[in-house]
Amino acid sequence: MNLVTRFTILFILVSLMVFLVGGVITFQVMKREIDAEQQRFLLERLNRIVHMIDRRDIKDDMIREKFQIRILDRISEESEVAFSDTLVMHNTLERLEPHLKLDVIRTINNRSYAITIYDVIVETDDINDVVIESLVKTFLILLVAFAGLGLVVSFYQLRPFRQTLQIIRSFTISGKDPPVFPKTSIREFRKLNAFLDEMTMKVQKDYHALKEFSENASHELQTPLAIIQSKLDVLIQEEGLNEKQLKLIESAQLTARRLSSLSSSLSLLTKIENHEFSKKEKIDFTTVVYQVLDEFSELLSLKGIHYTVENVSSPTIEVDPVLIQIMITNLLNNAIKHNLEKGSIHIKIDRKSATISNTGKALETDPNELFERFRKSNQSDTSLGLGLAIVKKICDLYGFKIKYSNKSEQHTLSLVFNGGQQ
């Protein structure tokens, strides 16, 4: 339910209550006024009747349609005027109708008269009908007015709000230009826009700062590492170094290299997270697998790993060529690294999925943590533990599903393409 509809319904409910209470009040006021008016009318007639009795010196009872005058036997005390409701046969309508009755005893010219005056009263029902009819009609007019107002409000008054929503929807955190919100005369929208303006600007600024930091951190690390590396290269060429010294230099070089790969891998992860690989090309998955296998062929033969490719179908996926290359390289690297001596790798490529199975020792880590950063099968391992984390990130980016399963010494990573699937 949109805001305007909700407001309209609330307004209608509230006005319905107001109309109900108002109806009751109107009814009561009207009834009171009408009653007072009728009593005044009867009193006026009483005056006329008293005047008539006085003038004509009535000696007999007198019964007319609208009044009765009875002569009392003896002189009685004058009474207060008393009003009451009664049913009287209506002559023209020929049925009993509620009437207002006035009873009084008056002594005129030494004779007491009991005077009763009737008149048809405006019935409660009639007042009711009048009140209900007029209120219902007014209410209907109000409904139409509300509906019209709702349309106007949602089309014109809420336009800046809709524009703001549109702008927010198309807002990208990686964009350079902050979004420009429409000018509006409504204070709440102005506040909202000012808040969003500030927030988006800050978010973009923070994002760019963070991105710049991640990229610079990598760059700033590589430069000192290059200096370390070159100094060690110069040092290792010195004549007369003994074995111990050489080993120390070698070890330092290896560590510098690891640090450098670590920084590159983290920078790659950041870039994937920041959606910096936005290129999309239609890539034949199988072709890339064969390319990467070719690059690994020497390593495979040196380790005596036998591999088979079962190519049921050649899926075409729409991805960044660099990322898919990295993904397959990491998957194969993983399958080779954790393989057994003279083990095997089996790759099966289907229309919508691919699996890479390899022989290997039982997993020492929790399979659920396999795709997390810095998860290694063995903490003393020289590998960085980022390979599968990168694979997972790439899968997430393209909406591929990746799952690990194993059967005794057979480990399988299965990949299901959806998002990028054509």
Partner: protein, 224 residues
Amino acid sequence: MKLLVIEDQKELSDNIQVYLENEGYICEVVASISKASEKLYGYSYDLILLDLMLPDGDGLDLLQTIKSNWPELGILIISAKNALDDKIAGLNMGADDYLAKPFHLAELNARLKAIYRRKQQMGEDLISFENISMNMDTYEVRVNDETIELTRKEFDLLHYFIVNKNRLLTKQAIAEHLWGDFMDSADSFDFVYQHIKNLRRKIVNAGGMDVIHTVYGTGYKLKA
């Protein structure tokens, strides 16, 4: 071989200079684009070693200037930004090779010599050490005038040794040269050992001297 090193990190350029001058290069070092331009207009060089991030601008701009004014110059880009885009842009703009920081100085030397060799292109492209000669055009390797058959990796390895002769090459530097980033260091050392064993055997079988010396299990050195 006259080389202009354009690199703002003095510590790194000093090491490069020391290492390469020992290899027989004539090295000049500048730390900015403006200084590099001065040198380029005043003197002539064979090779340029260009860092992409310089204090007064982007190395790629300088690359463009060099390519339009001195198209025959060999250019090797070194960059700490391991960004593929930079690499592709650099190579597309006419750089001859790209090396990501950090790198081994032996690798730098090998790449620079390869560029230099390609640029010269006069007569037969022969590299030799003692009685071993390598023809870089036909990939023929002779030991005492006897042709020996080498695999591609063995050929690469021998070439790497000869351009870096009398230098200690660590197993790590060799592995990176042969396989780049593909190889895990744990595995690669065994493979380096195997390749070197095969290469040695082939040279010795052809009557050559055993010129590849093991240095304390850390690396190898080609020396007479």
